[in-house]
Amino acid sequence: MRKSTFLILSFLIVMSMVLAACAPAAVATPITITSAPQVVKETQVVTQVVPATPAPVPLTYARNETLYTSGTQWGPPSSWNPFNGGGYAMGTIGLVYETLYIYDPLADKFIPWLAAQDMKWVDPTTLEIKLRDGITWTDGTPLTADDVLFTYKLADPNGDFKAGLNFAGLYNFLSSIDKVDNLTVDFKFKANPAYQEVGFYLWQTPIVQAASWSKLDVKDITGGANENGIGSGPYLFESHDQDRQVLVRNDNWWGIKAFGKTPGPKRIVDIVNGSNNVALGLVLQGGLDLSNNFLPGVATLVKGGYGVQTYYPEAPYMLSANVAALIINEQIKPLDDVNFRKAMAYAINTDDIVQTAYTGIVKAADPTGLLPIWDKYVDQDMVAKYGWSYDPAKAKQILADAGYKDVNNDKFVENKDGSPIALEVTCPSGWTDWMASIQIISKNAQAVGINMTPAYPDYGPWRDAQLKGTFQLSIQNESQMSSTPWSYYKWVFQNPIANIATAQYGNYGRYDNPKAFDLVNQLNQVKVGDDAAIKAITSQLQEITLTEYPTIPLWYNGLWSQVSNAVWTNWPSSADSANHYLPASWRGYWNMTGIEMLLDLKPAAAQ
């Protein structure tokens, strides 16, 4: 009896292990097939040089040829569609699909990528894009003006596909796109095109292959998984599983010749995040080369001999990626009163948030809310005149002057009409850094007599309240680093305000100021690179944000990045001798110099 039980048991255990063993293998089978043409093609190229047998895909990747990344995928990779902005697998744009330009935020520079040269406006309404010669898709066919034309026309509201993609906004001022020759495309705009926005789309829009995409139905263009997509970039999709995605280097990539540089890693294995705790564990085990996770104990890691490096060797360690601001619902009392908002701005101890909630790994925001990369646009006189800092006494004074008094002696001020004030500041439950932050904010507010309490709804209701404008106070950081401060002001002054559709970002507080809206439009029409004009307009916008407090910028969320020198070296850092790239694998960041970081990665000498 005992013996047979044991046998049955062992059998079951072995069976279930085999079951687990089979499952990923089964998942992997089609992947092997998909990469097969690539292997064949590789040999075709290689055979000309060295007569070698086709290299089979190894079962175990050599450590010194593999880059392990993490921080982008929070679930099994499911979409390889570059138009699935929020959900495409790590590297889909940047490593597999490429853009005409990439943007270097640290140098404020557009770098021609698929395009052969800097942006060239042949006249104020005509932008001419010349492509590099010799770019091929991974199926061997050349990437031409037709592909660019096709890609941009996908979003044409009057075109064949009418796919409402990210860059559909281009058509607000685009009159036509014309093919000049096989490598040249002319974008013809109506009068006063939005140069800033155009520039924004040029480094954000992935170019796809006309031949394969034109066969697709519109719903597959916007929502298809595009599992075996053909790209033009330095890496190819190789395989994926529940907890990872593997990219393999495209040894026929055009950039190898064009830049004279080959991306260091033969393979990139992107690990799906379980939690930051697990990510930290992997870093400690030496299993991650580039972790773009928010790891709380960064100071410990950098200083504790773990071989972990961040962009800055000291606080704040991280580059600033976006601004976290207190967003305010301007439709309700007393938040509709600018003086009340002003009092809140003075009441909040941002340094305490930085030190306590973030242990110093973020920077306090400039009162203008402009990211450090836009420092040059900050009107210092304006900041000196209107800028605020933590000053509870002044906050109390402002409240008193504006007529907010504690009528019922509950230590909190009441509305001017005597009705009590009870404000709630929210962030999603589980977003611990923000939770800690809004606790501090509430305490700060209470200290000056504003009755404010933190609340942590789940993400859905929290987000819903913003879209519907039913929240009171909240933290938001949607506005990311980009090529233009217009994107930030567009977020603050999103117009129209009546109905903030699901897909539109910004101005959840419904701040209504036609002058500001107009300035945002003017800013959009400034030519790329015309810093003086940008400064002139943003200066006026800064005056509005500094005196009207539509949002209260608090701190800059970091571009979380922890790198290890154990296997790969020559990482970007703030050191003078190092490359100043963005060390990020996040969506939208490979095409902000992340890819250049890969080109310069070197295997560690010891390997």
């Binding site: 499952a23 099994p76 499911s78 902005g85 929020g86 409402g164 916007t222 998984a225 907890d243």
Partner: protein, 330 residues
Amino acid sequence: MAKYFRRKLLIYLLTFIIAVTVDWCIPRFMPGNPVDLIISRAGLKGSAVSQMYTFYMQAFGLDQPIWKQYLNFWIAIFHGDLGTSIFLFPSPVTKVILGAVPYDLALLIPAILTSWFAGNNFGAFAARSKRLDNTLLPLGYILTGTPYMWLGIVLAWAFGIAWRIFPIAGGYSFAMRPALTLPFIWSLFQHWFLPFASLFIVQFGGWAIGMRNLIIYELEADYSHYLAALGAPKRLVRKYAFQNAMLPQLTGLALQLGVIVAGALATEVVFSYPGIGYLILQAIHNEDYFLLQGCFLFVVIGVLLANFIIDITYVIVDPRTRAGMQGGAS
């Protein structure tokens, strides 16, 4: 026996219907419209929004009358169609779940079976004498009181970080491609071990205590006394007591399944083990109600199936149910 199975089947059927109905409600009564979320995730803009909105409303059948949606849901279930994941757009929910299920089975089946057998044997062993009972069993109580995930994290830290014996994340080595080779299976095993161990340890304690209590009752049962009076050796008496105590433990297993599955979900989260537990958590955090719906349905079906297997096993091992005398008692 026929009556017994009829009743059982009725209960399963009802449970299934109720579970499916609850499940159907999940995306429909959540705050916010799931289609809005898809569109917002896809990053669509402008006129495309309303276009896609209509498209998805139709695709998910959300534009139809409620009763028809409910009917369609049933039809879809029998076609294995659980809709499209929002968070893992555009993967079909069924595909996402099927990718995760093998890991769950690999974790749950061995953990449940080994802990059940080992715990029962250990409990029977400890019930042998007062000394063993007082020295070994407190361990069991401590183990059952331990939250799975807490133990999991302690194990991960000790064996993964401090001693570096086991990996702490993933289903198999991140440097490997799946293949039926020894190193790969070894890698699977290494990644499986800690999640398995944390499930095993906690459940082991529970079964040990259960068996200890039951076997003490059984040893005081009349048949045990009769055997002793007829001079049967202790071994035989214990054997009978053990076998008879296994029956309530089998029922206990059925009762515990839900709890065990819950524990597995938490454990998977701790070890980033790519099973359904991790998916459920991500589905919640990402408001992916279709995925949540699918996971819930899968868990329910899994538990129902397991219950059914246990019921059949019970009938096989317990003559009383076969004799038809116990029809309604379980």
